[in-house]
C-alpha cells in the first residue's frame, strides 16, 4: 500500500518546527543550568522524534543529524549534565543546522547535508574522543531492520 507522503511532509513541517522550538527552549534552559534533567530529556526526545519522521520521508540529512544529536544526548542523559560549554555550543550549532534543513524542506528543496565537521564533533565522545558507531537511517520502502528475535 502507498501512503500519501505529501500529507506527511506537511505534518513533518508542523511537528518539526514545534520540536525545534522546544529544542531551542531546552538549550536556553541548559545554558542557565547544565544539569537541567527536564531540558536534557526534552532535547533527547525531540531529536529522536525528528529523526523518525525524517527517516520515514527519506530526508537523510535531517535524519542523520538528528540521529547524531540523539546519540549525543544519550551520553548527556547518562552523565546527568551537559559536560562543557563547548558541548552546549555544539548543540546550538546542531539546532541551527537542523533549522536550515527544515526551512529547505518548507521551500520544497532538498535539505542541505550537514557539514562533516559538525557530524564528526557530534559523534565524538567528550571524554574519550572515540567516535560512536552509527548506522544509516532507512527510509520508507527500504527493508526494515529487525535486529532482534
Amino acid at each position: 500500500m502507498a501512503l500519501d507522503m505529501a500529507k506527511y511532509r506537511q505534518i513533518f513541517l508542523e511537528e518539526s518546527t514545534d520540536h525545534l522550538g522546544e529544542i531551542s527552549h531546552a538549550l536556553f534552559d541548559l545554558e542557565k543550568e547544565m544539569a537541567n534533567g527536564e531540558a536534557i530529556d526534552t532535547l533527547f526526545r525531540m531529536a529522536h522524534s525528528i529523526k523518525s519522521m525524517a527517516a520515514s520521508l527519506g530526508y537523510d540529512p535531517v535524519a542523520d543529524l538528528s540521529h547524531r544529536m540523539e546519540d549525543r544526548m544519550e551520553g548527556v542523559r547518562s552523565d546527568g549534565r551537559v559536560r562543557s560549554q563547548e558541548e552546549l555550543a555544539l548543540l546550538f550549532r546542531s539546532l541551527e543546522a537542523l533549522e536550515a534543513m527544515v526551512a529547505a524542506v518548507a521551500r520544497n528543496e532538498e535539505p542541505p547535508v550537514a557539514d562533516d565537521e559538525l557530524l564528526r564533533l557530534l559523534a565524538e565522545d567528550p571524554s574519550g574522543r572515540v567516535p560512536f558507531e552509527l548506522a544509516s537511517p532507512d527510509p520508507v520502502g527500504g527493508e526494515p531492520k529487525k535486529v532482534l528475535c
Binding site: 540523539e70 548506522a135 537511517p137 532482534l148
Partner: protein, 123 residues
C-alpha cells in the same frame, strides 16, 4: 479484526499507523500521547492490541508495558522502535511485549506483524 490503541507522542507516527491499519479493517479505539495515557487508556478501553512507542514523555513505553502487563498479563503489545534502540526493545520484550516494528514503518511489515500476533492470540 482488532480494536487497537496507538501510543506515540508524535502525531506523525500515530496518523501513519492509523492509515496503515485501518484499511485492514482494524479499529483504532484510542490514541495516547505519553506512557501515562497509554496505561490509563488501556485500562479504560481494553484494546485487543497496543502499538507502543518506546520514547515518550512522562512515562516511557517500556514502563507503560510493565504497568499494563502487571495488571493484564495477556495484553498484546507491539513496540515501535527506531535505529539504535536494540537494548530497549529487548527490555520491552522481556517485560512482556510480544513483538516490535521498526521505524521508518514499512506498511506491509506492520500489517503482517499485527496479523501474526492476532492469529496467535486466537489460538
Amino acid at each position: 479484526m482488532a480494536r487497537v490503541l496507538i501510543a506515540d507522542d508524535a502525531s506523525f507516527m500515530r496518523q501513519m499507523i492509523r492509515e496503515i491499519i485501518e484499511p485492514e479493517g482494524h479499529e483504532v479505539v484510542g490514541e495516547a500521547t505519553n506512557g501515562i495515557e497509554a496505561v490509563d487508556l488501556f485500562n479504560e478501553l481494553s484494546p485487543d492490541l497496543v502499538t507502543m512507542d518506546i520514547v515518550m514523555p512522562k512515562r516511557s513505553g517500556i514502563d507503560a508495558v510493565k504497568a499494563i502487563i502487571s495488571e493484564h498479563p495477556t495484553a498484546c503489545i507491539v513496540m515501535c522502535s527506531a535505529l539504535g534502540q536494540e537494548t530497549l526493545v529487548m527490555e520491552a520484550l522481556q517485560a512482556g511485549a510480544r513483538d516490535f516494528i521498526v521505524k521508518p514503518f514499512k506498511p506491509d511489515s506492520v500489517i503482517s506483524t499485527i496479523a501474526n500476533l492476532l492469529e496467535k492470540s486466537d489460538d
